[in-house]
Symmetry: C2
Subunit: 531 residues, 2 copies
């Protein structure tokens, strides 16, 4: 399978604009479908290389954080162009490493370059600055007010850990990288072991854009290998962390970051079971259609999506039984799929075994046993497990599986939802009339999840201004952030106030003449006017 073009410096770390390797060449990129080498090998990153990468990012920080937003916008658009130009050989490589379908990879590439362009548009819009001006009041009594101006600056170098399931959109040039680079923060990226060659191609694309747009070396760094993540988040020059992955992995990095002499913010997107509530009237009129759509949603991409609906809840009725029967049919007829890598398959199988072994959970569709591909599964759990907040139902099982839960009545359903931990999403499927009555239900879910969906499915995550891909713990480690959409930039910015500054020292965003034509909060009023 060594049919891909390997360049001379292949397999090395990306540090400060160079490709370096001091460790041993022992990490092997594998084809997801058969576990065979794809033909790429990588040097294990060393502790020294972690240090060098963090220092390279720190050296780039003063200059990069002071670049004009328009310059960074051009740089991000340049990365987008480079991503779009990655050709068929690249798509084939990603497919080999991840077993994802070619059409999905092409779509994800467009999503990833589109994401870069959206952040470029954000930079040109300028609202991320959060510019605020309170003019001096020299004659105020009892005390005068000085001139005070606030905007947001980059927090510092960011360590980013990409996800296996989106080798482009949540990886090397994914949402966290786009947000950090847009904010003015250099990045040290930890390449995911599941798509190391993909990461290398994307890393080269970023570096080409960096050189072309004359950005400082060290704005982008990437390291390969296990055991380096802990060193990275503990490095004194790293000032924030972005992570997408498992609860165990995210929490471990979070704990390390919080125990530093100087703790740093960590945004880890981790675990969500994404509850879907199916309401009685909807089931009365459309049980079969809903079952089809829902099964399609939780088996989409082999269930390897953070927003996969993992728990389906409804009130006992003959329609609910009809719905569950149809769900079973859909699951039974759903073809087995290859997972992203053997580790993911193993985790899925372990999750299934845990569900199988629980006395109050029964399999109602799908096959038991270990196989080389993942086949869809449906379980049914006693609602007592939700009411008692059993950990088994609170933690996601990554893969094509869902658990159906039946409530005796609406009150019990409400109570079961109250016991849920934090979620990325929560979904209501209902007829217009019953939805209109669902005020208390949606208010409850507002306090549980980052995104609430009515009559849709959570597995599509739009990249836009209004998206929230976040939520209370354990969905993420910080409910105040999102890792998708333009609000994601705020995780990597902090406010600074300038008091009594002369115009010449003020950033463009805060000068009297408003040269960037920003919408600014001036003395309590939003305006684009000059002072």
């Amino acid at each position: 399978m060594t049919h891909f073009t390997e360049q001379q410096d292949s397999g090395r770390q990306f540090i400060g604009g160079e490709r370096v390797a001091e460790g041993e060449r022992k990490l092997v990129s594998l084809c997801a479908a058969n576990g065979q080498p794809s033909g790429y090998r990588f040097y294990q990153g060393t502790a020294t290389e972690v240090d060098r990468a963090a220092l390279a990012a720190a050296r780039a920080f003063p200059a990069y954080s002071q670049t004009d937003a328009a310059q960074r916008a051009d740089f991000l658009a340049g990365i987008a162009d480079e991503l779009d130009a990655l050709g068929d050989e690249f798509i084939a490589l990603v497919a080999a490493e991840t077993a994802l379908p070619v059409a999905r990879i092409q779509g994800e590439r467009a999503r990833t370059s589109g994401q870069m362009r959206l952040f470029a548009a954000l930079l040109r819009r300028g609202d991320f600055y959060g510019a605020r001006i309170d003019s001096a009041l020299p004659h105020r009594t009892p005390l005068p007010r000085p001139d005070l101006r606030q905007y947001r600056v980059a927090i510092g170098p960011v360590a980013i850990f990409g996800a296996s399931n989106f080798p482009l959109a949540f990886s090397t040039a994914g949402g966290d990288t786009a947000a950090a680079l847009a904010a003015g923060c250099p990045v040290v990226f930890k390449a995911h072991s599941g798509h190391m060659a993909t990461a290398e191609w994307v890393g080269r694309a970023i570096e080409r854009a960096r050189v072309k747009h004359a950005m400082p070396a060290g704005v982008f760094n990437m390291l390969y290998g296990g055991q380096i993540g802990a060193d990275l988040v503990q490095h004194p020059e790293i000032k924030a962390v972005g992570f997408t992955g498992s609860l165990a992995g995210g929490r471990a990095l979070f704990d390390l970051a919080m125990r530093r002499p100087q703790p740093i913010p960590v945004f880890a997107e981790m675990s969500s079971i994404n509850p879907v509530v199916v309401m009685p009237q909807a089931l009365s009129s459309g049980a079969e259609r809903i079952a089809q759509d829902l099964a399609a949603s939780f088996t989409l991409g082999c269930g390897q999506l953070c927003t996969k609906p993992g728990v389906i809840i409804g009130v006992r009725s003959s329609n609910f039984e009809r719905f569950v029967n149809k769900l079973c049919q859909e699951v039974t007829s759903s073809p087995a799929q290859t997972m992203l890598n053997p580790g993911t398959l193993q985790s899925f199988q372990q999750g299934i075994i845990a569900l199988e072994q629980h006395p109050r959970i029964e399999r109602i569709a799908g096959q038991s046993g270990v196989a080389e591909q993942a086949s869809a599964q449906l379980f049914r759990a006693d609602i007592a497990l939700l009411l008692d907040q059993s950990p088994l139902l609170q933690e996601e099982v990554f893969g094509p599986v869902a658990v159906v839960v039946e409530a005796a009545n609406e009150a019990e359903l409400f109570q079961a939802l109250q016991g849920l931990q934090g979620q990325l999403t929560a979904t209501l499927i209902g007829e217009e009339a019953e939805i209109a009555q669902a005020h208390s239900l949606t208010q409850l879910l507002t306090h549980k999840a980052g995104r609430l969906i009515i009559n849709g499915y959570p597995t599509g995550v739009e990249v836009c201004d209004a998206m929230v891909h976040g939520g209370p713990y354990p969905a993420t480690s910080d409910a105040r952030g999102t890792s998708v959409g333009t609000l994601a930039i705020e995780r990597f910015l902090r406010p600074v106030c300038f008091q009594n500054y002369p115009q010449i020292l003020l950033p463009d965003a805060l000068q009297d003449t408003n040269p960037l034509n920003l919408l600014r909060l001036v003395n309590g009023v939003y305006t684009r006017e000059s002072l």
Copy 2:
């Protein structure tokens, strides 16, 4: 000294709208000036009461977080009115508990009620919602876009720990409480042991406003006593923490919060030495005036301000010597002052001893020895201590003391500043011409501090939209926040996205008709138009 009016329920905890006490009445409010009882005694809060208070806040949360912003604005304005109505007996009580001058307390009361009204204005302005709408694109290919709308909601009940040094503005009804209540978060306040009776009067004022404005019981709770803070930040119903105080205290609470099964955000404002750089030309023309102003700043309020300038740095010159000599004169003639309480005095004395005992630090003004009041002190330290990042110069000594540091040249000064940890403020004193050349210096300081001041002194902290009272660790535990000014509300909000929601279920802030007349980001453009 028991001349203050004590009400029947005095000394009890504030829990869920009631005054309760199950512990022993053993906490004694003391007069700062003489250590004698002020006449008020308080029941030590118990673990059960912590639990009850957190549960009361949690019960209030759903209803309170769903109140209209306008209702909360009225409530906050009501608290402001109650604070303003606290009469001379109250002012005398605060003065007795804290030894702060009456004029200062009157000013602080006005600041505190003004702060409540500023948050009320913020609530009426509505920008804290961060409303964003991306309309549905049903005909987009390859996939349609659903309707997506985002705004910010309250994070949940907040535990707040007030500071000793601002018994009103950073305490019971202070900035953190104002920000949390504005956000829609119920508060559990830990009363400071240094002004327990003050806290009780203010707590009653909040409760009167709560009842008058028909807000749910449990929106405000207050507990007295030591050892309850740890239980409070670990309570599962507490969703965020606000703290102002020492580095040791803030870090201990931070660590507890981060080790919870579900970690929660902590904004702790802790330690800052607030460097002041005096530039050569300024010293040439105004060494004496600058020395007077600077000494006034670091002895103001007995040096008991978070933004007290603790380190003064300049380049060696005869003018710098003249400046230092004048500083010494000012310090020598500065009268001794009573500190907030015996513990604060003891900490100050310990800090002075640590400076005295260091071989590379010498006292250049002020007297050694232990006394009942704090007398101003000035030390001079070898710049090597800054270059080597000696912890002794990095941690604030709370009280009327500053350390002068002389650099051999500008390069050494720059290097010394590079070694500084995070700060609340950093100040440059210079003539116009040298300030205009100070680009690299101000850019360096931008990455060190939350607020940068030119030709002013950091000890005035304006409450306004543009203020930042925050900064990198150890100034605070989260550089992305501020505890003064309207941006403080963002610490207690999180974004939520509504996908495909019918108008009837959308909050006012996100409805098509824009009933709140908000400035919203609609399809990438800021507008007040309806959809």
